[in-house]
Subunit: 456 residues, 2 copies
């Protein structure tokens, strides 16, 4: 891939300026009022891909947010790489914890700060620019397709149907995705496993209105007290999830593989310091990386109810709510788990309250074997740029659509992520190091080169 | 008390119009930005009491909200009644549940709707108007003092010091308060017991920032999960509070008194229907009215943490909070209970989180024997107007200052409340029936008459 380094250095300010335009769009998919921003982002992606050299780039409507599809077919007999990315971002609350406005990107200490700087505008944009380089220097060795969706952060609700309806258009040999992280700046890794996800919202209703906690307190079921007790019952003292049947489909990872996993570099003291906790906590009998990599989790993502303002209001509230999610491991079906939780949670509710469980979204887990040519192509690309083989890693995160791609399109995905743990994705002050951004653009063309050669 | 009925009917629209002016002031004591409204309310109270016939009526500064004191001394040798009321009101959240704006009073179906319509502007105002009647018709049989504070809903923080510093000015033989409810419209009652209160805010901190629930979920202590477990542990399966030492000073009410209490009219099915619950819940071994009247309670008044917006944000939050209160029975010291809870709650925190407990406010419980002349005066006043003796009731509510009055001023309070359960105090759509308002004004002068005679 001749000239990639100099291409990047000559175009640095343009590349950043284009990315910043994309980052300025507050395309938050979970908030309905940001829908127009999703169309702005889609328009911009169409232009980015056309300018980069796509033969065609169009917006496709779905029942939800739009999808951008683009392609450049140089020879139907050559293999085809489908690049997947997403243009939507997470909400920005708590906004007061941001040091600079989330949709006004700035560079500070060698990092780009903005919501989406890493996840996934920054990482997605690297692919557009790597593609641009290969087209402009006539080095594209295979066909390329781009699929940019707008609902990843809300569970890719409409993408499966889009895949079903456009199988031919999306036909490819491998899907390439940068929406994950590396172990550390100097330690490249490729994500070979992802956890699935089930996500619920629960609503506990006690009395039909907020009551005076003095006049009624002690005689009426308090929905917050009850919700706390119900949540507390969901995990036992060993950190195991107590929903009956929850672990039925979990494939226990064998001692051999757990041993290999334990050899990946991981500094638990540094990890604790980075997140500011004195002790870690999780399922008994598993190490930290196992707890996130090969075991399911149970986390309350949000809770609210009663009086939450300033001072002391004495009230026995009518309602309490929680947003709850479980990360699932491959082979656990998120539909089944969602139903198991819903049935169990509703069944343990005392008669003093009404409980409603809504299943908000979900996704299946994913595993990619490391002996596939598509994995090898990525491994060699990393090796070329970093002079070091990547570590295959099972991530605790979920990209629900990856397993769906395999199911519907029959294609494996390569998760070639350039994020870092410190990027604070989904959190205030999300950022993406300039070095990762530019190294990503540098690495990607080698994947194409290697893959085209391996598939010859 | 000649002419009270006709006085009320001739002045009906003026009385309501004056009350509405008071109700329009959003004097919410727990929200700092409403401080100017507290001064507006104080100014209005000064004018109300001067116009009603007070010799003097002034605003007194405290470290917090102002206090209004007024008096009319007709003869230093006659007994003195001190009327206590409060001009502050509760917050109005959740505002969306109000059918009409909380600070724009309206009359609908024979009820005044507004925040404070009952608690305690409406009830306090009855005393001003009863006083006005007695002065204007030359029937005031004793001296009257008025003490109107602005911090009742936040625990009367500065009133104890004010009492300490103004013992002579506040000197009286009985304190008369209308800040409680009657059993039902046709069943008058006098509150002879009040619960004390301890109120805490707890903060649980896990990681130093919101984390991605996929990358970290399962390995890092989630402050909401932890808070739920900690709250769940505070009560056992019998509804007993588990804080060590919590019940040490609770005086068990004897079988004889419990039997008498059980004869007070109480329709549990109607009670459940009124608040819309299928089953009640509380401490095992006690009836509903006992659970609120003679037993302490443990209620989470508010909880919040993590993502509480629209949709599904996958986050492992940094912090979770709760506002927690216990109603206490007479002889439980709120300082002691506050400290016991704080120590216990902090002690059970796992090392994966940091826990902070702030004691927000508290108050002692109170009991008034029913054989005192001040009680008899109230009983006879009720009997005169309702043709029925009031039922002595132990309320579950707290008026922290009542026990403080006894401690500092050495005077018993008579809790002559005209509120009704359906008045929704502290809740959306607070209201006060016109009939209760006018009957209150009618009843109060008889208390003065009876009391002056009994004390002769």
């Amino acid at each position: 891939m001749e000239g990639i380094k100099s291409y990047i250095s000559e175009n640095k300010s343009r590349l950043l300026s284009e990315l910043f335009d994309l980052l300025r769009i507050p395309s938050i998919s979970s908030i309905e009022s940001h829908k127009p921003d999703m169309y702005k982002a889609a328009d911009m992606w169409v232009n980015i891909l056309k300018d980069a050299g796509a033969d065609k780039a169009d917006i496709y409507e779905t029942a939800g947010n739009p999808i951008v599809f683009a392609q450049k077919i140089i020879n139907p007999l050559l293999p085809t790489v489908l690049v997947y990315a997403h243009m939507d971002v997470m909400p920005v609350d708590p906004i007061e914890l941001w040091d600079s406005p989330p949709f006004e990107p700035i560079i500070k200490d060698g990092r780009i700060y903005a919501r989406g700087a890493d996840d996934d505008k920054g990482q997605g944009f690297m692919h557009a620019k790597a593609f641009e380089f290969m087209v402009k220097t006539n080095q594209l060795p295979c066909n390329v397709k781009f699929l940019i969706e707008g609902e990843e952060e809300i569970g890719s609700v409409n993408l499966p149907q889009f895949c079903e309806e456009n199988k031919e258009m999306l036909k490819s040999d491998v899907i390439l995705v940068s929406d994950t992280s590396m172990i550390a700046p100097g330690i490249p890794s490729i994500t070979t496993g992802l956890r699935g996800l089930a996500y619920w919202q629960v609503e506990v209703t006690g009395p039909n209105r907020d009551l005076h906690s003095g006049l009624f307190g002690g005689a009426v079921g308090n929905p917050i007290n009850v919700l706390a007790k119900m949540i507390a019952q969901m995990t036992d003292e060993d950190g195991k999830i107590t929903v009956p049947g929850f672990y039925d489909d979990v494939i226990e990872v064998d001692a051999e593989e757990r041993k290999r996993m334990s050899q990946a570099p991981f500094d638990e003291e540094r990890y604790k310091r980075a997140i500011g906790v004195e002790e870690l906590a999780g399922e008994k009998g598993f190490a930290t990386t196992e707890r996130t990599g090969i075991r399911p989790s149970f986390d309350v993502c949000g809770i609210w109810g009663g009086y939450t303002g300033e001072g002391a209001k004495t009230v026995l509230p009518s309602k309490a709510f929680a947003k709850i999610s479980s990360r699932l491991v491959p082979n656990q079906d998120h539909h089944k788990i969602a139903d198991l939780f819903k049935a169990h949670f509703e069944s343990i509710a005392p008669k003093s309250v009404q409980v409603k469980v809504d299943i908000l979204h979900g996704g299946q887990g994913y595993v990619c074997p490391i002996d596939l040519p598509e994995y090898k192509a990525a491994e060699m690309a990393i090796d070329k740029v970093y002079s070091r083989k990547p570590v295959p890693v099972r991530s605790g995160g979920s990209i629900p659509i990856i397993s769906t791609f395999e199911e519907i399109l029959g294609v494996k995905s390569i998760l070639l992520g350039f994020g870092l743990e410190a990027d604070a994705i989904h959190s205030p002050n999300e950022n993406f190091p300039l070095e990762q951004f530019f190294t990503g653009i540098e690495t990607i063309p080698y994947f194409y080169k290697n893959y085209a050669e391996l598939k010859k």
